[in-house]
């Protein structure tokens, strides 16, 4: 199956831009402009690398590699090099690139006194052994599943037979076809090899990159292990995903033989791997977690935090649940949402945002009920939202408005129905829903007996969460418009603008790529961490070592 002799130049621009954005984001997280690099910012950076890398590793778009659809499908068949290669390359190279960028985004030494350890660092010095062995087992199992597909024959798709009794119409029989197994094994096996080789390279990069001067030797060692942990967990899920793709291919029955039901046990195994890797926590930096080697952060009173602060902190998990439940439900109802693209996905995003705002509002009401007193002073924080988050929110609003406008123009030009209207209405409703939450935070009774600054800090946390939710919702809605109304964009910008040469294409890949990118950005924005009410401590000096 020959590769295209030339790639549209803009095909590489998307990944390059994405890499630049990811690098800038990671650099901003670890550098923490106000306080400089610290154990806390380094710990946040490691978390962000893991989250972004996991987001980039989704193989959802490649599940039907090698399958010939029996009827029209919203996305084209993944049966040629031009379609299979991007579907596999994005998750495999994407997650590896994110982890590599995580390593190169650490700042260089700035202090005049530099330190180094006189030892040769090898991958095995930091490798979490049990996790590495488990990952290797997943890779071997995936290789076996892929190798199995090489022996499978291909067969043609059979269109379902239309049966009508005059009143009702139904479709019987038929089924998807598939290309010959060796072709699929070649693609999936190549992806697995690239994943394995890339994993080893990134592990080497983790072991060999310079140490961080804001951490002592022990925490520098732990940080490398943390990075390896997150990398191995991500690539294990990708390898399991490749096995699920192979299983999806192998399980398809030949429609000419009349069999209809089939199952994909590899997908179940992939789900198990995902859950296991999800729960396989990395170690923590002692300096970031107020461990024995660390001084306590200034501004935090010795002893337990105030119950009101604990209550607000505990909402973080509920917020995640509030967003995850509709998302998982949407995954099960994917086909139904596809049938109503103009308001299905937009409604799902609005529902997720509304539930998150509901959780935030409930938190404020609980704070007032449990700890509020009419006589306690109400302190409105001077700076409610960090400049970075505010900028992000403004940018998200601008992007959404531009996308909405262009979509409206495009649909008017195509004389299509106004598919942009539901998205606009849902977004407006989300913004309106945020207003009472902000008013609640503004007028809530003060917390009685709180340490100085805590009451205003709690209000600032609520405002941060509301602004973050709005920014993520706006970005996600813009992404939904691009994903579902790509033809409108093609009519405005010209279908051939980014190298699209297929006149029969029913979708426009640049808008799909941009929409997917905005979707990822929305998830990243939604997990921007809230700073603790206390200011972060300056980086502690590294611990002493034997030195000359």
């Amino acid at each position: 199956m020959p590769l295209q002799p030339s790639l549209p130049p803009l095909l590489l621009l998307g990944p390059l831009l994405a890499a630049v954005v990811v690098y800038v984001v990671l650099r901003w997280v670890v550098w923490a402009p106000r306080t400089g690099s610290s154990p806390a910012s380094v710990s946040d950076h490691a978390l962000w690398v893991g989250v972004i890398g996991w987001l980039a590793s989704s193989l959802q778009g490649a599940m039907n590699v090698g399958i010939i659809p029996s009827g029209p499908s919203p996305v084209g068949p993944l049966t040629s090099a031009g379609t299979v290669l991007p579907a596999l390359a994005w998750p495999v190279l994407g997650c590896l690139t994110v982890h590599a960028l995580g390593q190169v985004s650490y700042p260089g030494p700035r202090r005049m006194r530099r330190q180094a350890v006189l030892s040769v660092r090898r991958v095995r010095d930091f490798l979490p052994r049990r996790l590495a062995l488990t990952t290797a087992a997943v890779f071997l199992t995936a290789a076996a599943a892929i190798a199995r597909t090489a022996a499978l024959p291909g067969f043609a798709a059979v269109a379902p037979t239309r049966v009508s009794d005059g009143e009702y119409t139904s479709f019987n029989g038929g089924g998807d076809g598939r290309i010959p197994g060796p072709d699929v094994a070649l693609w999936l096996g190549g992806a697995l090899l690239v994943l394995a080789g890339g994993t080893w390279l990134v592990l080497w990069l983790i072991a060999s990159r310079r140490r961080l001067e804001s951490l002592d030797t022990a925490d520098n060692t732990v940080l490398r292990t943390i990075a390896m942990n997150r990398l191995l967990r991500t690539v294990a899920t990708v390898a399991a995903g490749l096995a699920a793709v192979a299983g999806n291919f192998a399980a398809r029955p030949d429609p000419a033989q009349g069999m209809a039901s089939w199952g994909n046990p590899e997908a179940l195994a992939c789900g198990v791997v995902l859950l296991v890797m999800w729960g396989w926590r990395p170690p923590r930096l002692a300096a970031a977690g107020l461990g024995a080697r660390n001084r306590p952060e200034p501004g935090i009173a010795a002893g337990r935090p105030h119950p009101a602060a604990r209550l607000l902190s505990s909402l973080g998990a509920l917020l995640g649940l509030a967003a995850a439940v509709p998302l998982l439900t949407g995954a099960f109802l994917f086909q139904a949402l596809l049938a109503a693209p103009s308001y299905g996905f937009a409604g799902l995003v609005a529902l997720m945002a509304a539930l998150a705002l509901l959780v935030v509002a409930a938190g404020e009401l609980l704070l007032q009920h449990n700890y509020g007193r009419p006589a306690a002073p109400r302190r409105w924080p001077g700076r409610r939202v960090s400049p970075a988050l505010l900028t992000t929110a403004v940018l998200a609003l601008l992007v959404f408005l531009i996308v909405l406008l262009v979509t409206a123009l495009g649909q008017a030009g195509l004389a299509e129905g106004p598919g942009w209207v539901p998205s606009g209405l849902f977004t407006a409703a989300t913004c309106a829903a945020a207003v009472p939450v902000l008013l609640l935070a503004r007028h809530r009774q003060g917390v009685a007996g709180a340490p100085p600054g805590l009451d205003s800090a709690l209000r600032a946390v609520t405002v941060h969460r509301v602004v973050r939710t709005l920014a993520a919702a706006l970005t996600a809605q813009a992404g939904v418009l691009l994903l579902t109304q790509g033809n409108a964009w093609a009519s405005v910008l010209g279908r051939a603008a980014f190298g699209e040469t297929d006149p029969a294409a029913t979708t426009w890949w640049p808008s799909i790529a941009a929409g997917a990118g905005l979707g990822v950005a929305a998830v990243v924005i939604a997990v921007i961490p809230v700073r603790s009410p206390a200011r972060p401590a300056p980086a502690p000096p590294p611990g002493t070592e034997v030195s000359g």
Binding site: R113, A116, L118, S119
Partner: protein, 141 residues
């Protein structure tokens, strides 16, 4: 126990000399055993955030008296000690004399004791060095 070095870019002493002296001291104190592999020039330079040529010069100056060896396959390693009770040129490079190995071990133990007591008393590195320099200058008078 990890052997580490530090380079003060504000110091009047050139960086390569600080690296050379500290590695020589670590070898003399036994913190770097013979056969211990040292990081490559580029790796150590990257860790310290200084030019590779600076580290290369320090390694060359350690190779000349035979403190370290560069082997093709195994990189740079600490040279084996000569089969005598005297320390190799490490302590001699530092002190200009031949120092028995047992004395070096006693000095190393005394230094560790001094550091431990100083930490218990709440002294930081600068204070410990200042006390040492004061005592040394008093003895020189």
């Amino acid at each position: 126990m990890t052997a580490g070095i530090s380079v003060d870019l504000d110091s009047a002493t050139p960086a390569y000399e600080q690296i050379r002296a500290q590695i020589a001291a670590l070898i003399a104190l036994g913190a770097l055993e013979p056969g211990t592999r040292l990081p490559t020039v580029r790796r150590l330079a990257a860790d310290l955030g200084i030019a590779a040529g600076t580290v290369a010069r320090a390694y060359r100056e350690l190779e000349q008296p035979g403190l370290i060896e560069t082997r093709r396959r195994n990189g740079t390693v600490v040279a084996p000690r000569p089969p005598s009770n005297e320390t190799p040129a490490a302590a001699g490079v530092l002190t200009g004399t031949n120092v028995p190995g047992t004395v070096v071990a006693e000095v190393a133990a005394a230094v560790e004791h001094y550091i431990a007591e100083g930490r218990r008393a709440g002294f930081d590195d600068a204070a410990l060095l200042a006390v040492l320099r004061t005592k040394l200058s008093q003895q020189d008078e």
